[in-house]
């Protein structure tokens, strides 16, 4: 290795343990969450790992073994993590971080196990978010595991949104599932006839109830809604045939059919009757929005866990690769370090690790944000309701003023007397957090699962041929495949990108983003080793490019930044994800550095741990900067037409580009007075005036100097990033790992 520059005290001693992670991910003071983590871990590395090792993934059907896993979730409190204490749970208050941490632990071993756990929460989520008090109490209590002394089986639920093609469901806003009035006697509650087919529905094999999205097929019902269907309702509740998934086989997936008669009180959130028409209080779109913006986060965290879970098995494989060979005697470099004597193996693993850290930081930061946002959102709704404002559009209109106040707050000096007033305004708080959540949620889902899958492929490749076998420790090949489904669950990548293209241009978010850029510069001044400066430069470039694209047009006069122009908007969404992930990673390391000393366990070797994690930040920030630079450059220059030769036969190009051209003879003469000028000439015409054999003269940079200045700055900001990677690689080669994985694999 070229730069083995770390002193012993700066080498991370062992893989980051619970004490370190609890501080980084901000649950060091939450014992309920720490216990949930331990509990979920014991199920994942016990019951689940044994099932996977025993080949339970080899069947699509729901088996007794898979049922055992659900019971293990119940016994270990994983199922109850979604419930309030009065409903049979043990965690009070918002549970976004709790669910994300449980998903992280379960996905460490198997994605299907994590999905099976989350799917139950997903079924309850519409009721939790928008249900009536009676609905919440009934279904969450029934779904809670039995308490000591109780003899009952908990209900299982499934969320039925997706339908057979062409309606599909998650984004189209169109539904083929229908509801009609079946019976409506004077003075009594109406009964509904529900007709719905589902596709790719998780937990369906054993669901006792489902929450299904349907649309009215009757003039006496307005719009759409989510309705609760129970297994014992009158009619058909067909669980359907299992889907032949190649992945996540520990979760049940199938295509159910429902034709049921249910009371109208099953409409999630209730309804009102206006002029003889049943009007659901919440349409299905509003419910889905409330649900998915939260439940998408744990899905992103699942892929992040897979990345971090790959580190230990890969290190062990790399180190032991040559042991047992004749030429590898104990004490030799070949024996002790194995493949880790090669820089490439280390650097690639550093990339996987850095991505895993960034993805986890982003996912858990988003989960925490929702925990903070939840009560504020409720308060916002209450405040607006007091003013007689209710419903999506009316609320948006009413919040316009708060948005301006939020932007003003972001622009105030730290000591401004007005700051206190604005900070205390719950509507301002809501607007700020909502704008952030609207970006971070799709970013987590998109980047963690999409880019994460790519890096899981890299992790598999680091195991050589072993990686793609069933014998590979850590089930890496399964995890790679599983991650691909995670990229699709709850809205595939295109849906996330589309949401980002709208939310990332919100005035409030962009004001926040500017503040984040300044924050990174500030951090860079005290912690240059984190890559914060590189990141700030990349953020600046992204924002400049967005501004540019919003007003620029293509040669035909078409707007570049436009909803339909996904070749522009989607790459910008991708670029933003890299930035927010890297930022979250840096903030987590700073938290560890600031608070790690207070915990005797984390404090041991803290300097080395912080150094390593900072080096991973730097590596990741450089990767993010590279992506942003590439994407922005393509978009800024890619829609300018390339200059062409003018076709007149004189060898000159059209327009100003001909100014770039020299005649070969002319250049030779100039070389005598200006030595070296020929190396600077871009386009040289032959003696006959013929142009070089290419499409046209090289493009100039007129009008793009601002961008090039930013790009130039960004390029130089990469200084030190490869040194950081070298240091990280050195630690990867030395860090202590356990003797064996703590789960059968």
């Amino acid at each position: 290795m070229g730069t083995a520059t770390l002193s012993e005290e700066k080498i991370m001693l062992a893989l980051p343990g619970d004490a370190v992670r609890q501080i980084q991910w901000r649950f060091a003071d939450r014992f309920d969450l720490q216990m949930l983590v331990q509990s979920a871990r014991s199920v994942a590395r016990g019951t689940v790992a044994r099932l996977v090792a025993a080949g339970e993934r080899n069947t699509h059907e729901w088996t007794p073994g898979k049922s055992e896993m659900m019971e293990a979730f119940d016994r270990a409190g994983v199922t109850a993590a979604f419930m309030e204490p009065e409903e049979g749970g043990f965690i009070a208050g918002p549970k976004n971080l709790a669910l994300a941490l449980a998903a992280f632990e379960l996905a460490w071993v198997d994605g299907g196990a994590a999905t099976a756990s989350l799917a139950g929460f997903l079924a309850l989520a519409p009721i939790h978010e928008r249900g009536t008090a009676e609905q919440i109490l009934r279904y969450k209590s029934l779904s809670a595991p039995p308490q000591p002394g109780e003899d009952r089986k908990p209900w299982r639920g499934a969320f039925v949104l997706t339908e057979p093609i062409p309606y599909v469901g998650v984004d189209t806003g169109m539904l083929s599932g229908k509801m009609r009035v079946a019976e409506w006697k004077e003075g009594e509650e109406p009964w509904l006839q529900i007709d719905k087919r589902g596709r790719f529905i998780t937990n369906i094999a054993f669901a006792n109830f489902v929450t299904a999205a349907v649309i009215s097929d009757d003039e006496r019902i307005k719009g759409s809604c989510v309705v609760i269907l129970e297994e014992t309702d009158e009619g058909i509740f067909d669980h359907g045939t299992p889907t032949k998934k190649l992945v996540h086989q520990l979760s049940s997936t199938g295509d159910p059919i429902f034709n049921l008669k249910v009371p109208a009180s099953r409409i999630v959130g209730g309804y009102t009757v206006k002029d003889g028409v049943i009007v659901p209080n919440w349409n299905h779109g509003e419910i889905i929005e409330a649900v998915f913006r939260r439940t998408r986060v744990p899905v992103g965290v699942m892929t992040a866990a897979k990345l971090l879970s790959a580190i230990e098995p890969v290190i062990r494989y790399q180190r032991g690769r040559f042991r047992g060979a004749e030429g590898a005697k104990p004490g030799t470099v070949r024996y002790e370090q194995g493949i880790q004597q090669r820089e490439d193996a280390l650097h690639r693993l550093v990339d996987v690790w850095a991505t895993g850290e960034a993805a986890t930081s982003l996912g858990l930061a988003t989960a925490r944000l929702f925990d903070t946002l939840d009560p504020i959102e409720k308060r916002k709704t209450a405040i607006l309701k007091e003013s007689g404002i209710q419903g999506g559009r009316a609320e948006m209109k009413a919040l316009k003023e708060s948005e301006q106040r939020a932007i003003e707050l972001l622009s105030l000096a730290p000591d401004s007397p007005r700051r206190q007033e604005l900070e205390a305004d719950p509507l301002v708080q809501f607007v700020l957090m909502d704008a952030e959540a609207n970006v971070l949620c799709p970013a987590t889902k998109l980047w963690n699962t999409g880019h994460g899958t790519n890096l899981l492929r890299e992790a598999v490749s680091l195991m050589g041929g072993y990686g793609i076998t069933e014998d590979c420790p850590g089930f890496l090949a399964n995890k790679w495949m599983d991650a691909q489904l995670e990229a699709t669950y709850e809205g595939p990548e295109a849906v996330q990108r589309r949401q980002l293209t709208v939310t990332m241009t919100s005035e409030v978010f962009l004001a926040e983003f500017r503040a984040w850029t300044a924050e990174m510069r500030q951090i860079a001044s005290s912690h240059p080793g984190t890559g914060a400066c590189t990141l700030a430069s990349a953020m600046q470039m992204w924002q400049w490019t967005l501004n540019y694209l919003q007003t620029a047009t293509d040669p035909a006069g078409g707007k570049l930044y436009h909803g339909q122009r996904q070749g522009v908007t989607f790459p910008m969404a991708d670029a933003l994800c890299w930035l927010v992930a890297s930022r979250a990673q840096i903030l987590d390391v700073l938290e560890l550095e600031a608070r790690g000393g207070d915990d005797p366990v984390a404090a041991e070797g803290l300097e080395g741990t912080v150094q390593f994690l900072s080096d991973l930040c730097h590596t990741q920030a450089a990767a993010a900067a590279g992506e942003v630079s590439r994407i922005c450059a393509e978009l800024v220059f890619g829609y300018k037409p390339h200059p062409v030769w003018n076709g007149s036969g004189d060898g000159l190009a059209d327009g100003e580009e001909q100014n770039n051209c020299f005649l070969a003879g002319e250049l030779e003469e100039l070389e005598e007075t200006v030595p070296g000028i020929s190396t600077m000439a871009v386009d040289v015409l032959g003696e006959d005036g013929g142009h070089p054999p290419k499409a046209g003269p090289c493009a100039g940079c007129a009008g793009a100097s601002d961008f090039l200045r930013l790009q130039n700055k960004l390029t130089t900001c990469l200084s030190g990033s490869r040194l950081a990677k070298d240091r990280a690689a050195e630690t990867v080669a030395k860090v202590m790992i356990p003797e064996a994985l703590d789960y059968p694999a």
Partner: protein, 270 residues
């Protein structure tokens, strides 16, 4: 009729046995490399004792269960996030060194002193539980010494089972040579039981039990007394991995009985 028992379990915190345990000599004497940052667990034999104790206490309503632990309270707090979910108990932490090779006599003195001072403890009803062995440098005498200091002379080691009788006496199964058990009958408490593995499976985690325990565990950890153990002058003379022996022979014509007989003979020769 149920017996009212006061059960005290002594259990230390040890590095997770899956970790790489590399002997090093530090300023405080012999220790393990990076022991503070390695994941820790409750000493496995003592953990079995705790689960047996919890089971016994649950079967005998009104009984009380204390877990007395001497070790780094920071590590203990991490371990409690798991152990506190498995059984209801009252934690009595004593903040001590994480690693090294503390002297069994000074350790026993601190433990005995702490147990003797437990508020509400009726020593006539005391069952002192602990591990027969330890996953970390166990001297194999600490529990006996604690019992001696508390004046308990009925002591059993390698215990796999205890059956309480209605009159307060109890039967104990202790491991003896040759994979057999010795059955003893004890007239009653107090007694010391050093547990082998027992017969119970490890209880599953239950966060609700854990949350209840944590209401008393966190204040107890905050108030944990520091114990300074005397240096004993130990040092490493040599360290070696346990001997591994692998003898492979291909036999195609032996019957299962012949193979079994040969295996028994081979094991017996070890």
């Amino acid at each position: 009729m149920a017996n009212l028992l006061h059960i005290v379990v002594c259990a230390g915190v040890v590095p997770d046995p899956l970790q790489t345990l590399e002997p090093v000599t530090g300023p405080a004497g012999p220790g393990l490399k990076n022991e503070m940052v390695l994941p820790a667990v409750l000493d496995p034999w003592a953990a079995c004792a705790l689960y047996e104790a919890a089971n016994l206490a649950a079967k005998n309503p009104g009984s009380k269960l204390w877990l007395v632990s001497l070790g780094s309270k920071a590590k203990l707090q991490q371990v409690m996030m798991t152990i506190a979910q498995k059984a209801a108990f009252e934690l009595v932490p004593i903040d001590g060194p994480i690693g090294g090779f503390p002297d069994a006599h000074s350790t026993a003195a601190v433990l005995a002193e702490t147990i003797a001072a437990l508020p509400g403890l009726d020593r006539s009803k005391l069952l002192l539980f602990g591990g027969w062995e330890s996953a970390t440098r166990g001297a194999g005498v600490t529990l006996q010494l604690v019992g001696e200091r508390l004046g308990i002379t009925d002591q059993f080691q390698g215990v796999d089972q205890i059956d309480l009788r209605e009159d307060g006496s109890f039967e104990v199964l202790e491991r003896v040579e040759g994979g057999k058990h010795q059955l003893s009958v004890c007239a009653g408490t107090p007694a010391v039981l050093g547990w082998a593995t027992g017969n119970l499976a490890e209880p599953r985690n239950n966060p609700q039990v854990g949350m209840t325990n944590m209401r008393t565990i966190m204040p107890a950890l905050a108030k944990a007394k520091a114990a300074k153990l005397e240096a004993n002058g130990l040092r490493y003379l040599s360290v070696s991995l346990p001997k591994q022996q692998r003898t492979t022979r291909v036999e195609k014509n032996l019957s299962p009985d012949e193979i079994a007989a040969e295996l028994v003979e081979w094991i017996g020769a070890e």
